[in-house]
Protein backbone atom coordinates (compact mmCIF):
# COMPACT_ATOMS: atom_id res chain seq x y z
CA UNK A 1 0.00 0.00 0.00
CA UNK A 2 1.60 3.23 -1.13
CA UNK A 3 1.34 6.61 0.51
CA UNK A 4 -0.62 7.87 -2.51
CA UNK A 5 -3.10 5.05 -2.07
CA UNK A 6 -3.48 5.96 1.60
CA UNK A 7 -4.10 9.56 0.63
CA UNK A 8 -6.74 8.55 -1.91
CA UNK A 9 -8.52 6.48 0.71
CA UNK A 10 -8.07 9.19 3.33
CA UNK A 11 -9.79 11.66 1.06
CA UNK A 12 -12.70 9.29 0.50
CA UNK A 13 -13.05 9.13 4.27
CA UNK A 14 -12.48 12.86 4.73
CA UNK A 15 -9.42 12.30 6.87
CA UNK A 16 -6.35 14.50 6.63
CA UNK A 17 -3.07 12.81 7.48
CA UNK A 18 0.31 14.37 7.92
CA UNK A 19 3.14 12.94 5.84
CA UNK A 20 4.39 10.91 8.79
CA UNK A 21 0.91 9.68 9.64
CA UNK A 22 0.28 8.67 6.05
CA UNK A 23 3.56 6.79 5.91
CA UNK A 24 2.91 5.04 9.22
CA UNK A 25 -0.63 4.14 8.19
CA UNK A 26 0.60 2.84 4.86
CA UNK A 27 2.94 0.39 6.48
CA UNK A 28 0.48 -0.71 9.17
CA UNK A 29 -2.30 -1.15 6.64
CA UNK A 30 0.07 -3.05 4.41
CA UNK A 31 0.87 -5.53 7.13
CA UNK A 32 -2.80 -5.96 7.99
CA UNK A 33 -3.68 -6.48 4.35
CA UNK A 34 -0.83 -8.91 4.06
CA UNK A 35 -2.34 -10.84 6.92
CA UNK A 36 -5.82 -10.92 5.46
CA UNK A 37 -4.46 -12.37 2.25
CA UNK A 38 -4.73 -15.59 4.22
CA UNK A 39 -8.32 -15.67 2.99
CA UNK A 40 -7.15 -16.11 -0.59
CA UNK A 41 -6.12 -19.64 0.26
CA UNK A 42 -9.80 -20.58 0.59
CA UNK A 43 -11.90 -21.54 -2.38
CA UNK A 44 -15.15 -19.68 -1.91
CA UNK A 45 -16.36 -19.78 -5.49
CA UNK A 46 -19.46 -21.76 -4.53
CA UNK A 47 -20.17 -19.95 -1.29
CA UNK A 48 -22.88 -17.32 -0.79
CA UNK A 49 -21.76 -14.25 1.14
CA UNK A 50 -23.50 -13.77 4.49
CA UNK A 51 -24.85 -10.28 4.80
CA UNK A 52 -27.27 -11.07 7.60
CA UNK A 53 -26.71 -13.82 10.14
CA UNK A 54 -30.30 -14.16 11.18
CA UNK A 55 -32.96 -15.31 8.74
CA UNK A 56 -35.77 -12.83 9.35
CA UNK A 57 -38.79 -11.70 7.40
CA UNK A 58 -38.43 -8.06 6.32
CA UNK A 59 -39.73 -5.90 9.15
CA UNK A 60 -41.94 -3.07 7.86
CA UNK A 61 -43.81 -0.38 9.69
CA UNK A 62 -47.20 1.18 9.14
CA UNK A 63 -47.35 4.44 7.22
CA UNK A 64 -48.39 6.45 10.23
CA UNK A 65 -46.61 9.74 11.01
CA UNK A 66 -45.57 10.25 14.62
CA UNK A 67 -44.45 13.37 16.43
CA UNK A 68 -41.09 14.74 15.33
CA UNK A 69 -38.61 16.60 17.49
CA UNK A 70 -39.28 20.28 18.03
CA UNK A 71 -36.77 22.15 15.84
CA UNK A 72 -34.83 23.38 18.88
CA UNK A 73 -34.13 19.77 19.82
CA UNK A 74 -33.02 18.96 16.29
CA UNK A 75 -30.33 21.64 16.40
CA UNK A 76 -29.60 21.50 20.13
CA UNK A 77 -26.18 19.90 19.59
CA UNK A 78 -25.32 21.87 16.46
CA UNK A 79 -21.86 23.44 16.37
CA UNK A 80 -23.37 26.27 14.31
CA UNK A 81 -26.88 27.13 13.31
CA UNK A 82 -29.01 29.71 11.55
CA UNK A 83 -32.37 29.75 13.23
CA UNK A 84 -33.48 26.14 13.11
CA UNK A 85 -31.19 25.24 10.20
CA UNK A 86 -27.69 23.79 10.51
CA UNK A 87 -24.99 26.14 9.28
CA UNK A 88 -21.89 24.86 7.53
CA UNK A 89 -19.14 26.56 5.55
CA UNK A 90 -19.75 26.77 1.83
CA UNK A 91 -17.97 24.60 -0.69
CA UNK A 92 -14.95 26.57 -1.88
CA UNK A 93 -13.91 27.05 -5.50
CA UNK A 94 -11.99 24.03 -6.60
CA UNK A 95 -13.33 21.73 -3.91
CA UNK A 96 -15.14 18.73 -5.23
CA UNK A 97 -17.95 18.44 -2.72
CA UNK A 98 -21.38 18.01 -4.28
Amino acid sequence: MTREEVERVAHLARLRLSQEEAAAMASQLESILGYVELLDTLDTSQVEPTSHVIPLATPMREDRPEASYPPETAVANAPARDGSAFAVPKVLEGEDEG
Binding site: L12, R14, S51, H52, L56, A57, T58, P59, M60, R61, E62, D63, R64, P65, E66, S68, Y69, P71, A74, V75, A80, D82, G83, S84, A85, F86, A87, V88, P89, K90, V91, D96, E97, G98
Partner: protein, 483 residues
Protein backbone atom coordinates in the same frame (compact mmCIF):
# COMPACT_ATOMS: atom_id res chain seq x y z
CA UNK B 1 -33.32 8.44 -35.69
CA UNK B 2 -31.46 11.64 -36.27
CA UNK B 3 -31.87 15.09 -34.97
CA UNK B 4 -33.04 17.44 -37.68
CA UNK B 5 -30.29 19.92 -36.95
CA UNK B 6 -27.53 17.28 -36.96
CA UNK B 7 -28.56 14.51 -39.30
CA UNK B 8 -25.16 12.83 -39.23
CA UNK B 9 -25.40 12.15 -35.50
CA UNK B 10 -27.71 10.01 -33.50
CA UNK B 11 -28.62 11.37 -30.11
CA UNK B 12 -28.50 8.81 -27.32
CA UNK B 13 -30.52 9.98 -24.35
CA UNK B 14 -31.27 8.27 -21.07
CA UNK B 15 -33.42 9.71 -18.32
CA UNK B 16 -33.22 9.13 -14.57
CA UNK B 17 -36.25 10.33 -12.71
CA UNK B 18 -36.50 10.61 -8.94
CA UNK B 19 -40.10 10.38 -7.78
CA UNK B 20 -41.52 11.11 -4.32
CA UNK B 21 -43.83 8.31 -3.29
CA UNK B 22 -47.17 9.23 -1.87
CA UNK B 23 -46.75 8.22 1.76
CA UNK B 24 -47.62 10.09 4.91
CA UNK B 25 -44.45 9.21 6.76
CA UNK B 26 -40.82 8.99 5.73
CA UNK B 27 -39.12 5.90 4.38
CA UNK B 28 -37.06 4.85 7.38
CA UNK B 29 -38.66 6.75 10.25
CA UNK B 30 -42.08 7.97 11.28
CA UNK B 31 -41.58 11.67 10.73
CA UNK B 32 -44.29 13.17 8.54
CA UNK B 33 -43.60 13.95 4.90
CA UNK B 34 -44.39 17.63 4.71
CA UNK B 35 -43.59 20.51 2.37
CA UNK B 36 -43.01 24.13 3.13
CA UNK B 37 -42.45 24.08 6.89
CA UNK B 38 -39.54 25.73 8.68
CA UNK B 39 -36.14 24.03 8.68
CA UNK B 40 -35.88 20.86 10.72
CA UNK B 41 -39.49 20.80 11.83
CA UNK B 42 -39.84 17.14 10.83
CA UNK B 43 -36.86 15.28 12.20
CA UNK B 44 -36.07 12.56 14.69
CA UNK B 45 -32.98 10.58 15.75
CA UNK B 46 -33.17 8.43 12.63
CA UNK B 47 -33.37 11.10 9.95
CA UNK B 48 -30.99 13.33 11.94
CA UNK B 49 -28.53 10.43 12.00
CA UNK B 50 -27.94 10.77 15.71
CA UNK B 51 -25.51 8.25 17.18
CA UNK B 52 -27.35 4.97 17.81
CA UNK B 53 -30.31 5.57 15.46
CA UNK B 54 -31.49 2.77 13.16
CA UNK B 55 -33.75 2.63 10.05
CA UNK B 56 -37.09 0.79 9.86
CA UNK B 57 -38.77 0.40 6.46
CA UNK B 58 -42.18 1.97 5.61
CA UNK B 59 -44.39 -0.77 4.12
CA UNK B 60 -46.58 1.66 2.16
CA UNK B 61 -43.56 2.96 0.29
CA UNK B 62 -42.75 -0.59 -0.76
CA UNK B 63 -46.27 -1.03 -2.07
CA UNK B 64 -46.16 2.16 -4.10
CA UNK B 65 -42.82 1.16 -5.54
CA UNK B 66 -44.12 -2.27 -6.51
CA UNK B 67 -47.24 -0.77 -8.10
CA UNK B 68 -45.08 1.54 -10.15
CA UNK B 69 -42.97 -1.37 -11.30
CA UNK B 70 -46.07 -3.32 -12.30
CA UNK B 71 -47.66 -0.34 -14.07
CA UNK B 72 -44.54 0.07 -16.21
CA UNK B 73 -44.41 -3.61 -17.16
CA UNK B 74 -41.28 -4.33 -15.10
CA UNK B 75 -40.36 -7.60 -13.52
CA UNK B 76 -40.80 -7.00 -9.81
CA UNK B 77 -38.27 -9.05 -7.86
CA UNK B 78 -39.33 -10.92 -4.77
CA UNK B 79 -35.99 -10.29 -3.18
CA UNK B 80 -34.12 -7.00 -3.35
CA UNK B 81 -31.43 -5.51 -1.15
CA UNK B 82 -30.94 -2.09 0.39
CA UNK B 83 -27.40 -0.84 -0.05
CA UNK B 84 -25.47 2.07 1.35
CA UNK B 85 -24.21 4.67 -1.10
CA UNK B 86 -21.38 6.37 0.78
CA UNK B 87 -20.42 10.01 0.23
CA UNK B 88 -20.08 13.21 2.24
CA UNK B 89 -22.47 16.12 1.86
CA UNK B 90 -24.10 18.32 4.49
CA UNK B 91 -27.64 17.32 3.53
CA UNK B 92 -26.75 13.63 3.81
CA UNK B 93 -26.62 13.22 7.58
CA UNK B 94 -25.52 9.60 7.80
CA UNK B 95 -22.71 10.15 5.30
CA UNK B 96 -24.48 7.53 3.20
CA UNK B 97 -27.79 7.25 1.42
CA UNK B 98 -29.79 4.06 1.80
CA UNK B 99 -30.57 3.02 -1.77
CA UNK B 100 -30.57 -0.17 -3.82
CA UNK B 101 -27.66 -1.21 -6.00
CA UNK B 102 -26.98 -4.72 -7.21
CA UNK B 103 -30.43 -6.10 -6.50
CA UNK B 104 -33.07 -3.41 -7.21
CA UNK B 105 -36.78 -3.88 -6.71
CA UNK B 106 -37.77 -3.97 -10.38
CA UNK B 107 -36.10 -4.28 -13.78
CA UNK B 108 -36.89 -4.67 -17.47
CA UNK B 109 -40.03 -2.59 -18.07
CA UNK B 110 -41.18 -0.07 -20.71
CA UNK B 111 -43.32 2.98 -21.34
CA UNK B 112 -45.03 3.74 -24.63
CA UNK B 113 -44.53 7.22 -26.00
CA UNK B 114 -45.92 9.07 -28.94
CA UNK B 115 -44.42 12.08 -30.61
CA UNK B 116 -46.21 14.05 -33.31
CA UNK B 117 -45.42 12.74 -36.70
CA UNK B 118 -44.04 9.42 -35.44
CA UNK B 119 -45.48 6.06 -34.66
CA UNK B 120 -45.85 5.18 -31.01
CA UNK B 121 -42.84 3.33 -29.68
CA UNK B 122 -41.63 1.82 -26.44
CA UNK B 123 -38.82 3.18 -24.34
CA UNK B 124 -37.28 0.57 -22.06
CA UNK B 125 -36.97 0.99 -18.32
CA UNK B 126 -33.74 -0.51 -17.06
CA UNK B 127 -34.61 -0.48 -13.42
CA UNK B 128 -36.70 1.01 -10.65
CA UNK B 129 -35.19 1.06 -7.20
CA UNK B 130 -36.16 2.46 -3.81
CA UNK B 131 -34.09 4.99 -1.95
CA UNK B 132 -34.37 7.78 0.59
CA UNK B 133 -34.19 11.45 -0.31
CA UNK B 134 -31.54 13.75 1.13
CA UNK B 135 -32.19 17.03 2.89
CA UNK B 136 -31.85 20.47 1.38
CA UNK B 137 -28.79 22.66 1.30
CA UNK B 138 -29.77 26.28 0.96
CA UNK B 139 -26.98 28.29 -0.55
CA UNK B 140 -28.50 31.71 -0.77
CA UNK B 141 -28.43 34.17 2.09
CA UNK B 142 -25.11 34.44 3.92
CA UNK B 143 -22.21 34.55 1.53
CA UNK B 144 -19.99 32.17 3.43
CA UNK B 145 -22.46 29.68 4.79
CA UNK B 146 -24.78 26.98 3.62
CA UNK B 147 -27.89 26.23 5.63
CA UNK B 148 -29.08 22.69 5.95
CA UNK B 149 -32.69 21.60 6.38
CA UNK B 150 -33.29 17.91 6.96
CA UNK B 151 -37.10 17.87 6.65
CA UNK B 152 -36.77 16.13 3.32
CA UNK B 153 -34.24 13.55 4.53
CA UNK B 154 -35.56 10.02 4.17
CA UNK B 155 -38.65 10.98 2.16
CA UNK B 156 -39.36 7.82 0.11
CA UNK B 157 -38.19 7.93 -3.50
CA UNK B 158 -38.05 5.62 -6.40
CA UNK B 159 -35.48 6.16 -9.09
CA UNK B 160 -36.76 5.21 -12.53
CA UNK B 161 -33.92 4.69 -14.98
CA UNK B 162 -34.68 4.48 -18.67
CA UNK B 163 -32.66 2.61 -21.22
CA UNK B 164 -30.66 5.04 -23.37
CA UNK B 165 -33.24 4.53 -26.12
CA UNK B 166 -34.56 8.07 -26.34
CA UNK B 167 -33.50 9.77 -29.54
CA UNK B 168 -34.75 13.33 -29.41
CA UNK B 169 -35.71 16.11 -27.01
CA UNK B 170 -39.35 15.63 -28.02
CA UNK B 171 -39.20 11.97 -27.16
CA UNK B 172 -37.70 12.88 -23.81
CA UNK B 173 -40.62 15.21 -23.12
CA UNK B 174 -43.10 12.55 -24.20
CA UNK B 175 -41.45 9.98 -21.94
CA UNK B 176 -41.58 12.27 -18.94
CA UNK B 177 -45.21 13.14 -19.56
CA UNK B 178 -46.16 9.50 -19.94
CA UNK B 179 -44.32 8.50 -16.81
CA UNK B 180 -45.90 11.28 -14.85
CA UNK B 181 -49.37 10.36 -16.09
CA UNK B 182 -48.87 6.76 -15.04
CA UNK B 183 -47.67 7.74 -11.57
CA UNK B 184 -50.68 9.99 -11.06
CA UNK B 185 -53.00 7.36 -12.49
CA UNK B 186 -51.95 4.72 -10.00
CA UNK B 187 -51.63 7.32 -7.24
CA UNK B 188 -48.16 6.21 -6.23
CA UNK B 189 -47.02 9.81 -6.51
CA UNK B 190 -48.56 13.24 -7.01
CA UNK B 191 -45.49 13.97 -9.17
CA UNK B 192 -45.85 17.70 -8.56
CA UNK B 193 -42.85 19.29 -10.26
CA UNK B 194 -43.05 22.48 -8.27
CA UNK B 195 -42.80 20.59 -5.01
CA UNK B 196 -39.81 18.69 -6.32
CA UNK B 197 -41.71 15.41 -6.37
CA UNK B 198 -40.60 14.53 -9.88
CA UNK B 199 -36.99 15.37 -10.68
CA UNK B 200 -35.29 14.48 -13.89
CA UNK B 201 -31.65 14.05 -14.83
CA UNK B 202 -30.78 13.55 -18.48
CA UNK B 203 -27.75 11.71 -19.84
CA UNK B 204 -26.88 12.85 -23.34
CA UNK B 205 -24.35 11.63 -25.83
CA UNK B 206 -23.99 11.59 -29.60
CA UNK B 207 -22.70 9.00 -32.00
CA UNK B 208 -22.30 8.88 -35.74
CA UNK B 209 -25.40 7.61 -37.53
CA UNK B 210 -25.23 3.88 -37.80
CA UNK B 211 -22.72 3.40 -35.00
CA UNK B 212 -23.57 1.14 -32.11
CA UNK B 213 -20.83 2.34 -29.78
CA UNK B 214 -21.65 4.84 -27.08
CA UNK B 215 -20.10 8.28 -27.13
CA UNK B 216 -18.99 10.13 -23.99
CA UNK B 217 -22.00 11.37 -22.16
CA UNK B 218 -22.78 14.34 -20.01
CA UNK B 219 -25.41 14.61 -17.33
CA UNK B 220 -27.88 17.48 -17.11
CA UNK B 221 -29.39 18.01 -13.67
CA UNK B 222 -31.81 20.25 -11.82
CA UNK B 223 -34.10 21.15 -14.72
CA UNK B 224 -37.54 21.60 -13.27
CA UNK B 225 -39.99 21.60 -16.16
CA UNK B 226 -40.59 19.30 -19.09
CA UNK B 227 -40.23 22.11 -21.58
CA UNK B 228 -36.89 23.10 -20.12
CA UNK B 229 -35.71 19.50 -20.16
CA UNK B 230 -36.41 19.39 -23.89
CA UNK B 231 -34.69 22.74 -24.39
CA UNK B 232 -31.70 21.72 -22.34
CA UNK B 233 -31.29 18.45 -24.21
CA UNK B 234 -31.57 20.29 -27.50
CA UNK B 235 -28.93 22.78 -26.39
CA UNK B 236 -26.63 19.97 -25.27
CA UNK B 237 -27.02 18.09 -28.54
CA UNK B 238 -26.09 21.30 -30.37
CA UNK B 239 -23.14 21.86 -28.09
CA UNK B 240 -21.79 18.34 -28.47
CA UNK B 241 -22.35 18.31 -32.21
CA UNK B 242 -20.36 21.52 -32.58
CA UNK B 243 -17.46 20.07 -30.62
CA UNK B 244 -17.48 16.80 -32.53
CA UNK B 245 -17.79 18.56 -35.88
CA UNK B 246 -14.67 20.48 -34.93
CA UNK B 247 -12.84 17.26 -34.27
CA UNK B 248 -12.91 17.74 -30.52
CA UNK B 249 -13.80 15.32 -27.76
CA UNK B 250 -16.59 15.52 -25.20
CA UNK B 251 -15.50 15.75 -21.54
CA UNK B 252 -17.61 14.00 -18.96
CA UNK B 253 -19.36 16.63 -16.91
CA UNK B 254 -22.42 17.41 -14.85
CA UNK B 255 -24.26 20.35 -16.35
CA UNK B 256 -26.99 22.68 -15.26
CA UNK B 257 -29.35 24.60 -17.52
CA UNK B 258 -30.08 28.30 -17.39
CA UNK B 259 -33.57 28.46 -18.90
CA UNK B 260 -33.63 32.22 -19.29
CA UNK B 261 -30.44 32.34 -21.28
CA UNK B 262 -31.08 28.96 -22.91
CA UNK B 263 -27.56 28.02 -21.95
CA UNK B 264 -25.88 25.10 -20.24
CA UNK B 265 -23.23 25.60 -17.60
CA UNK B 266 -20.78 23.22 -16.00
CA UNK B 267 -21.61 22.22 -12.43
CA UNK B 268 -18.85 19.72 -12.09
CA UNK B 269 -16.22 18.18 -14.28
CA UNK B 270 -16.01 14.46 -13.69
CA UNK B 271 -12.47 13.28 -14.17
CA UNK B 272 -12.85 10.36 -11.87
CA UNK B 273 -15.95 8.32 -11.37
CA UNK B 274 -17.32 8.69 -7.85
CA UNK B 275 -16.46 5.78 -5.59
CA UNK B 276 -19.62 5.22 -3.56
CA UNK B 277 -18.41 1.96 -1.99
CA UNK B 278 -21.84 0.34 -2.20
CA UNK B 279 -22.43 -2.56 0.18
CA UNK B 280 -25.61 -4.21 1.53
CA UNK B 281 -26.92 -2.22 4.49
CA UNK B 282 -26.38 -4.40 7.58
CA UNK B 283 -29.10 -2.52 9.49
CA UNK B 284 -31.80 -3.72 7.10
CA UNK B 285 -32.95 -7.23 6.26
CA UNK B 286 -33.24 -8.01 2.50
CA UNK B 287 -36.62 -6.90 1.17
CA UNK B 288 -38.67 -10.02 0.48
CA UNK B 289 -42.16 -9.76 -0.95
CA UNK B 290 -43.63 -13.07 -2.04
CA UNK B 291 -45.25 -13.62 -5.43
CA UNK B 292 -48.67 -13.88 -3.89
CA UNK B 293 -48.37 -10.45 -2.35
CA UNK B 294 -47.11 -8.97 -5.61
CA UNK B 295 -50.19 -10.34 -7.36
CA UNK B 296 -52.41 -8.92 -4.62
CA UNK B 297 -50.83 -5.56 -5.25
CA UNK B 298 -51.24 -5.94 -9.00
CA UNK B 299 -54.97 -6.39 -8.44
CA UNK B 300 -55.15 -2.97 -6.79
CA UNK B 301 -53.91 -1.21 -9.93
CA UNK B 302 -56.52 0.82 -11.78
CA UNK B 303 -56.91 0.63 -15.54
CA UNK B 304 -53.73 2.16 -16.92
CA UNK B 305 -53.64 5.03 -19.43
CA UNK B 306 -52.81 2.81 -22.43
CA UNK B 307 -55.55 0.32 -21.61
CA UNK B 308 -58.05 3.11 -21.11
CA UNK B 309 -57.18 4.74 -24.40
CA UNK B 310 -57.72 1.50 -26.31
CA UNK B 311 -60.99 0.91 -24.56
CA UNK B 312 -62.21 4.43 -25.34
CA UNK B 313 -61.45 3.80 -28.99
CA UNK B 314 -63.29 0.52 -29.11
CA UNK B 315 -66.10 1.12 -26.65
CA UNK B 316 -66.97 4.70 -27.57
CA UNK B 317 -65.79 4.81 -31.14
CA UNK B 318 -63.36 7.62 -30.46
CA UNK B 319 -60.37 8.28 -32.65
CA UNK B 320 -56.94 7.57 -31.22
CA UNK B 321 -56.29 11.26 -30.82
CA UNK B 322 -59.62 11.86 -29.09
CA UNK B 323 -59.09 8.88 -26.83
CA UNK B 324 -55.58 9.97 -25.94
CA UNK B 325 -56.73 13.46 -25.00
CA UNK B 326 -59.63 12.22 -22.88
CA UNK B 327 -57.52 9.63 -21.07
CA UNK B 328 -54.64 11.99 -20.38
CA UNK B 329 -55.51 12.01 -16.72
CA UNK B 330 -57.53 9.58 -14.71
CA UNK B 331 -59.79 12.35 -13.44
CA UNK B 332 -60.52 13.56 -16.95
CA UNK B 333 -61.24 10.03 -18.14
CA UNK B 334 -63.59 9.44 -15.24
CA UNK B 335 -65.36 12.73 -15.94
CA UNK B 336 -65.82 11.77 -19.55
CA UNK B 337 -67.26 8.38 -18.76
CA UNK B 338 -69.62 9.74 -16.12
CA UNK B 339 -70.87 12.44 -18.50
CA UNK B 340 -71.21 9.91 -21.34
CA UNK B 341 -73.19 7.62 -19.09
CA UNK B 342 -75.49 10.46 -18.04
CA UNK B 343 -76.02 11.73 -21.55
CA UNK B 344 -76.07 8.53 -23.56
CA UNK B 345 -74.06 9.52 -26.63
CA UNK B 346 -70.35 9.36 -25.86
CA UNK B 347 -69.24 10.90 -29.15
CA UNK B 348 -71.30 13.99 -28.50
CA UNK B 349 -69.94 14.37 -25.00
CA UNK B 350 -66.42 13.85 -26.35
CA UNK B 351 -66.88 16.67 -28.86
CA UNK B 352 -68.15 19.09 -26.25
CA UNK B 353 -65.31 18.20 -23.88
CA UNK B 354 -62.58 18.39 -26.47
CA UNK B 355 -63.82 21.61 -27.96
CA UNK B 356 -65.18 23.58 -25.04
CA UNK B 357 -64.38 22.06 -21.67
CA UNK B 358 -60.66 21.55 -22.27
CA UNK B 359 -60.43 25.13 -23.57
CA UNK B 360 -62.17 26.42 -20.44
CA UNK B 361 -59.72 24.49 -18.24
CA UNK B 362 -56.71 25.71 -20.19
CA UNK B 363 -57.89 29.32 -20.02
CA UNK B 364 -58.19 29.11 -16.26
CA UNK B 365 -54.98 27.08 -15.94
CA UNK B 366 -56.70 24.44 -13.84
CA UNK B 367 -57.09 20.68 -13.98
CA UNK B 368 -60.45 18.94 -14.19
CA UNK B 369 -60.26 18.08 -10.49
CA UNK B 370 -60.35 21.77 -9.66
CA UNK B 371 -63.25 22.58 -12.01
CA UNK B 372 -66.65 23.09 -10.43
CA UNK B 373 -68.60 21.53 -13.28
CA UNK B 374 -70.08 18.11 -12.61
CA UNK B 375 -70.21 15.47 -15.36
CA UNK B 376 -73.98 15.26 -15.02
CA UNK B 377 -74.25 19.02 -15.50
CA UNK B 378 -72.36 18.83 -18.78
CA UNK B 379 -74.55 15.96 -19.89
CA UNK B 380 -77.66 17.93 -19.03
CA UNK B 381 -76.47 20.97 -20.91
CA UNK B 382 -75.74 18.98 -24.04
CA UNK B 383 -79.17 17.40 -23.78
CA UNK B 384 -80.78 20.83 -23.61
CA UNK B 385 -79.04 21.79 -26.85
CA UNK B 386 -80.14 18.50 -28.42
CA UNK B 387 -83.72 19.35 -27.59
CA UNK B 388 -83.42 22.90 -28.82
CA UNK B 389 -84.06 24.34 -25.43
CA UNK B 390 -80.94 26.42 -25.65
CA UNK B 391 -78.81 27.38 -28.60
CA UNK B 392 -75.43 25.79 -29.04
CA UNK B 393 -73.75 29.15 -28.79
CA UNK B 394 -75.38 30.01 -25.48
CA UNK B 395 -74.54 26.59 -24.17
CA UNK B 396 -70.89 26.93 -25.05
CA UNK B 397 -70.66 30.12 -23.02
CA UNK B 398 -72.29 28.31 -20.14
CA UNK B 399 -69.62 25.63 -20.12
CA UNK B 400 -67.09 28.21 -19.08
CA UNK B 401 -69.37 29.52 -16.39
CA UNK B 402 -70.19 26.07 -15.05
CA UNK B 403 -66.51 25.23 -15.01
CA UNK B 404 -65.86 28.17 -12.74
CA UNK B 405 -68.98 28.24 -10.56
CA UNK B 406 -70.62 24.89 -10.89
CA UNK B 407 -74.38 24.74 -10.66
CA UNK B 408 -77.35 23.35 -12.48
CA UNK B 409 -77.55 24.23 -16.18
CA UNK B 410 -81.37 24.31 -16.10
CA UNK B 411 -81.34 26.92 -13.38
CA UNK B 412 -78.63 28.96 -15.07
CA UNK B 413 -80.49 29.02 -18.39
CA UNK B 414 -83.60 30.17 -16.64
CA UNK B 415 -81.81 32.82 -14.59
CA UNK B 416 -80.07 34.27 -17.59
CA UNK B 417 -83.14 34.05 -19.72
CA UNK B 418 -81.23 32.02 -22.25
CA UNK B 419 -84.09 29.80 -23.29
CA UNK B 420 -84.02 29.44 -27.01
CA UNK B 421 -86.82 31.16 -28.71
CA UNK B 422 -88.69 28.32 -30.31
CA UNK B 423 -92.16 29.81 -30.29
CA UNK B 424 -92.96 29.49 -33.99
CA UNK B 425 -95.54 32.19 -33.92
CA UNK B 426 -93.08 34.65 -32.46
CA UNK B 427 -90.38 33.69 -34.91
CA UNK B 428 -92.81 34.03 -37.82
CA UNK B 429 -93.77 37.53 -36.77
CA UNK B 430 -90.14 38.55 -36.28
CA UNK B 431 -89.32 37.11 -39.68
CA UNK B 432 -92.19 39.04 -41.21
CA UNK B 433 -90.97 42.19 -39.56
CA UNK B 434 -87.44 41.74 -40.79
CA UNK B 435 -88.46 40.92 -44.33
CA UNK B 436 -90.84 43.86 -44.30
CA UNK B 437 -88.05 46.20 -43.16
CA UNK B 438 -85.73 45.06 -45.93
CA UNK B 439 -87.70 44.89 -49.18
CA UNK B 440 -84.67 45.26 -51.43
CA UNK B 441 -83.03 42.27 -49.77
CA UNK B 442 -86.14 40.24 -50.30
CA UNK B 443 -86.17 41.31 -53.94
CA UNK B 444 -82.53 40.25 -54.33
CA UNK B 445 -83.38 36.85 -52.95
CA UNK B 446 -86.29 36.54 -55.37
CA UNK B 447 -83.91 37.37 -58.19
CA UNK B 448 -81.69 34.43 -57.30
CA UNK B 449 -79.19 35.72 -54.72
CA UNK B 450 -79.90 33.11 -52.05
CA UNK B 451 -76.98 34.12 -49.90
CA UNK B 452 -78.71 37.27 -48.72
CA UNK B 453 -80.79 35.15 -46.36
CA UNK B 454 -77.78 35.29 -44.03
CA UNK B 455 -78.21 39.02 -43.58
CA UNK B 456 -81.87 38.57 -42.76
CA UNK B 457 -80.91 35.77 -40.34
CA UNK B 458 -78.54 38.12 -38.63
CA UNK B 459 -81.35 40.61 -38.19
CA UNK B 460 -83.68 38.00 -36.71
CA UNK B 461 -80.98 36.81 -34.32
CA UNK B 462 -80.38 40.39 -33.25
CA UNK B 463 -84.04 40.91 -32.59
CA UNK B 464 -84.20 37.70 -30.56
CA UNK B 465 -80.96 38.36 -28.68
CA UNK B 466 -79.42 35.31 -30.29
CA UNK B 467 -81.83 32.98 -28.63
CA UNK B 468 -83.53 31.77 -31.73
CA UNK B 469 -82.53 28.47 -33.11
CA UNK B 470 -80.64 29.28 -36.31
CA UNK B 471 -81.89 26.24 -38.17
CA UNK B 472 -85.50 27.05 -37.48
CA UNK B 473 -85.05 30.72 -38.40
CA UNK B 474 -83.44 29.87 -41.71
CA UNK B 475 -86.27 27.55 -42.53
CA UNK B 476 -88.95 30.14 -41.73
CA UNK B 477 -87.22 32.90 -43.70
CA UNK B 478 -86.68 30.67 -46.70
CA UNK B 479 -90.32 29.68 -46.73
CA UNK B 480 -91.48 33.27 -46.45
CA UNK B 481 -89.10 34.51 -49.10
CA UNK B 482 -90.22 31.82 -51.48
CA UNK B 483 -93.80 33.03 -51.10
Amino acid sequence: MSSDAHPHYEAVIGLEVHVHLRTRAKLFCSCAVSYGDGPNHHTCPVCLALPGALPVLNGAAVEHAIRTGLATHCEVHSRSIFARKNYFYPDLPKGYQISQYEKPLATGGWIEIEVDGQEARRIGITRIHMEEDAGKSIHDGAATETHVDLNRTSVPLIEVVSEPEIRSPEEAGAYLRSLRAILRYIESSDADLEKGQFRCDANVSLRPQGSTEFGTRTEIKNVNSFRFVEDAIRAEIDRQAAILDDGGAISQATLGYDAEADRLFVMRLKENADDYRYFPDPDLIPLVVDEERIEEIRATLPELPDQKRLRFESEYGLSTQEARLLSASRALAEFFEAAARAHGTAKSVANWMLRDLLAALREREIEIEEAAIAPEALARLIEMVDRGRVTAKSARDLVAELTEQGGDPEALVRERGLEAVSDVGLLESVADAVIGANPDVARAYAQGDKKVVNFLMGQVMKKTQGKADPGRVREILARKLEE
